[in-house]
């Protein structure tokens, strides 16, 4: 049953209307037919019975005389005549009895059925008697009427009407009724279907439009265009009116129309004023048209709304992209956290720093990203800022896989409407700045040291010269084999050592005064190399020169620069000890504003922590008595006086490794010294020399 209702429920609206109409018509037709049938069949039956009554009474009256005169022939004629003349053929039989119940005349062809005599008796005072008989072969209405002469009964007439014939008449009536009902039903169905189709067609159009709207097509137009528009009806020439030439919407949907009868409101409210408007009366339609118009208007409004949304969405996306670009391009790390310290936004630099994807970081906290200790520290610091609303600015140092890193961290509480809603953190990598700072401090320290050393050297110089002078004087007074002379000799020897130290210190501290003459750097390098070559050869140390012939003459103190090369070569040789190579390279830097001399050895190298200290006076990695620790500081001082710079890297980068056959043997990590000298002026140009490899930081 439910399946039936379900299938009915799924039928189209038109089918439902048709089905409903058919059901109503059939029900009413059947009901009316049934009533009609009942009423008419009863009328037919009553008429038939009245006829039987009339016929029986008539026969009784006509047969009275013949019974009295015993004219049997006439009686026979009477009954035969009445049966034969029956134009309806519904008289089955007729017979006449005398007062004793003897048959006087009958119409039975096959003999009189005696059983009939005793059914349907009729009393004298009754005008007639009627009885329904079922003979087994047929069903009859038996009528009996007494033949009375005054108050004396002379006989009885009986006749019977066939029930079948009456019923046939009734049935005919019923069929006519049924045919009329069916005909009316089909007619109603046809007309109803026409009506349903007009209704459903418009509803279908609405449904189709709704589907289109759902699919995103908002350019739907269901309501038919009016044959005359408002400006045509009103002869309106107001071009600026928003409804003017608007063929998509009826004027009562348009807000702010110029028509004097129009009220200023929006669509549903202004409709009250429109009801008496000529345009409305002409162009408004039935409910479905109103619905269609409303639907069109809705789609149009929706479309405008969506377009506006799209525009603002595009705007937002552009702004977001702009913001993202700015944040991602900046090398500073930028993060935004909410009050629970959950990351809301991070930039690329931060992602690179922590080595995670943005999607991993957003939504998590420091505890998911950093070590527990670090996260805990951050947490307390951040909460402090959120609570006190005091921004924080600090410099932090971290040691990672890439060495020492310095960051300048600024944490600012983000406030909105007097309420803290988050924490903005920016961290800038200031490692380079810090390195420069350290270098500056270092050079300042060297300068101070130089001043100190110079001062000390000068002060010692005079007493030293007196000691030396007197000891030499005394030496002349004693014969050489005298033990006193030997003692004085030792004093003199040690005084000479002091003199060397003082001289070195003075060289290191000297910041002015040099013979600035044009000189060939390569030539001075060759000269010094030739000088030391044969000494180094005793320890199987080879000097390989790779000199750039394009280097122009530079202004410098030839002797002091030679001292620089000498110091560097000696230093390299000391680092090697036995068996090794010293590679000397000179070349112009890319911008041709400075030259660089690199002296690389294959020695044991310098520890990274010592690299910054090797230029300090008295710093030495050599064993006691093997060096004063002044050679490199003197070199430093001389190079500084020339406006240059000296730096060292250990181990030697691959591009400065000597590849000559003599150097392919086993060797240490080595150290390379870079001496940079300006080609013009007394100051290094600001651009970096890309030929010098950077220290691994």
């Amino acid at each position: 049953m439910s399946a039936f209702f379900l299938s009915l429920h799924r039928r189209s609206f038109q089918s439902k209307i048709n089905l409903g109409l058919a059901l109503i018509i059939i029900c009413f037709g059947l009901l009316l037919g049934a009533i009609n049938y009942a009423v008419s069949s009863r009328a037919v039956l009553r008429e038939a019975l009245m006829r039987g009554e009339m016929l029986s009474m008539n026969l009784s009256a006509r047969s009275t005389e013949s019974i009295l005169s015993m004219n049997f022939l006439r009686l026979t004629n009477l009954v035969t005549e009445i049966v034969d003349r029956d134009d309806r053929n519904d008289l089955v039989y007729a017979f006449i009895l005398d007062r004793h119940g003897q048959v006087l005349a009958h119409t039975f062809r096959d003999g009189f059925p005696v059983a009939l005599l005793h059914v349907n008796p009729v009393e004298d005072h009754q005008p007639f008697g009627m009885r329904f008989l079922d003979t087994g072969r047929e069903r009859l209405y038996d009528f009996a009427a007494p033949v009375m002469v005054g108050s004396t009964r002379v006989g009885t007439v009986r006749l019977a009407l066939s029930h079948t014939t009456i019923k046939a008449a009734i049935d005919r009536l019923m069929w006519i009724n049924l045919a009329a009902t069916i005909g009316a039903t089909f007619l109603a169905l046809f007309v109803g279907s026409l009506f349903a189709r007009t209704v459903t067609r418009r509803i279908n159009a609405l449904r189709h439009s709704a589907e289109q709207v759902v699919k995103g097509n908002l350019d739907v137009q269901i309501s038919p265009a009016p044959d005359r528009n408002c400006w045509e009806i009103m002869n309106c020439t107001e071009q600026r009116c928003p409804a003017h030439e608007d063929r998509l919407r009826r004027c009562w949907y348009v807000a702010g129309t110029f028509c004097p009868d129009c009220s200023a409101g929006n669509f549903p409210d202004k409709l009250d004023d429109c009801r008496n408007c000529t345009v409305y009366c002409r162009n408004s339609g039935d409910e479905i048209q109103s619905l269609a118009e409303s639907f069109d208007f809705m789609a149009l409004t929706l479309k405008n709304h969506i377009e506006e949304l799209r525009r603002s969405e595009g705007n937002l996306a552009r702004q977001k992209q702009l913001l993202n670009t700015i944040l991602d391009v900046t090398p500073d790390m930028v993060t935004l956290q909410d009050v629970e310290l959950i990351y809301l936004a991070v930039n690329k630099a931060f992602c690179r720093h922590v080595g995670r994807e943005e999607s991993e970081i957003v939504g998590s906290t420091d505890f998911d990203i950093f070590s527990d200790e670090q996260a805990d520290r951050n947490y307390h610091e951040d909460m402090q800022i959120l609570l006190t609303r005091q921004p924080l600015s600090k410099e932090i140092m971290t040691r990672g896989s890439k060495g020492k890193k310095w960051h300048h961290v600024v944490k600012v509480p983000v406030e909105e409407n007097d309420r803290v809603i988050g924490l903005l953190t920016t961290a800038r990598d200031i490692t380079v700045v810090k390195q420069y700072q350290e270098k500056l401090i270092h050079s300042q320290k060297m300068e101070d040291l130089g001043r100190l050393a110079g001062g000390v050297a000068h002060e010692i110089n005079t007493p030293l010269s007196i000691i030396l002078g007197y000891s030499q004087l005394l030496l002349k007074d004693f014969p050489p084999d005298d033990p006193v002379a030997q003692d004085i000799e030792i004093i003199e020897k040690q005084a000479q050592v002091c003199r060397k130290i003082v001289a070195d210190l003075l060289s290191f501290s000297r910041t002015t005064e040099q013979a600035a003459l044009p000189m060939d750097i390569n030539a001075s390098l060759r000269e010094v190399a030739d000088l030391v070559e044969h000494i180094f050869r005793q320890n199987r140390i080879v000097i390989n020169l790779h000199l750039d012939d394009r280097i122009p003459p530079v202004s410098g103190d030839k002797e002091r620069l030679k001292q620089v090369w000498m110091n560097l070569f000696n230093n390299a040789a000391d680092a090697i000890g036995m068996d090794g190579c010293i590679s000397v390279t000179s070349k112009l830097c890319a911008h041709r504003r400075r030259l660089v001399v690199a002296v690389a050895d294959t020695g044991g190298g310098v520890d990274e922590n010592d690299l910054d200290k090797i230029f300090e006076p008295f710093f030495t990695t050599k064993p006691v008595d093997k060096g004063t620790g002044l050679g490199l500081s003197v070199t430093f001082g001389i190079i500084k006086d020339h406006g240059g710079r000296i730096s060292a890297i250990s181990p030697v980068p691959s591009e400065y490794m000597d590849v000559s056959p003599a150097c392919t043997g086993e060797s240490g990590p080595g150290t390379v010294f870079f001496v940079e000298l300006p080609l013009e002026g007394n100051e290094l140009p600001p651009d970096e020399c890309i030929e010098i490899p950077k220290k691994e930081t």
Partner: protein, 120 residues
């Protein structure tokens, strides 16, 4: 034998120079102040002066200039613990014969002294 004037703010240095040079037979007068030295130069014939650059009131170069005014023929050796190119150049321009740096070996001093005196 020469008459030598030594001017050094440190008296001991002068005394030492005197010891060295008198051994060679020279007559040496040691001063630690500029004025007495000038007086001495004016009053006595001085063959040679050994001057320190850094003195109490004046610089050795100024003293050199002054001595040359007093006696243009005077031979001068600059002996300094503060050698600078500028003072060296200046001293040589003003007619100094030698520019030596402290501390100096006795032999070198004797040699240079005799060289200078030999010129005159």
């Amino acid at each position: 034998m020469a008459n030598i004037l030594v001017l050094d703010d440190v008296l001991d240095v002068g005394m030492m120079l005197r010891r060295i040079l008198t051994r060679k037979g020279h007559q040496v007068h040691v001063f630690s102040d500029e004025e007495p030295a000038f007086d001495h130069a004016r009053k006595n014939p001085v063959d040679m002066a050994i001057l320190d650059i850094k003195l109490k009131k004046m610089s050795g170069v100024e003293v050199l200039d002054e001595l040359k005014k007093i006696n243009p023929k005077i031979r001068v050796m600059m002996l300094t613990g503060y050698p600078t190119l500028e003072t060296a150049r200046e001293a040589l321009q003003l007619g100094a014969d030698e520019y030596c740096v402290k501390p100096i070996d006795i032999d070198e001093l004797e040699e240079k002294t005799s060289e200078i005196l030999a010129k005159g």
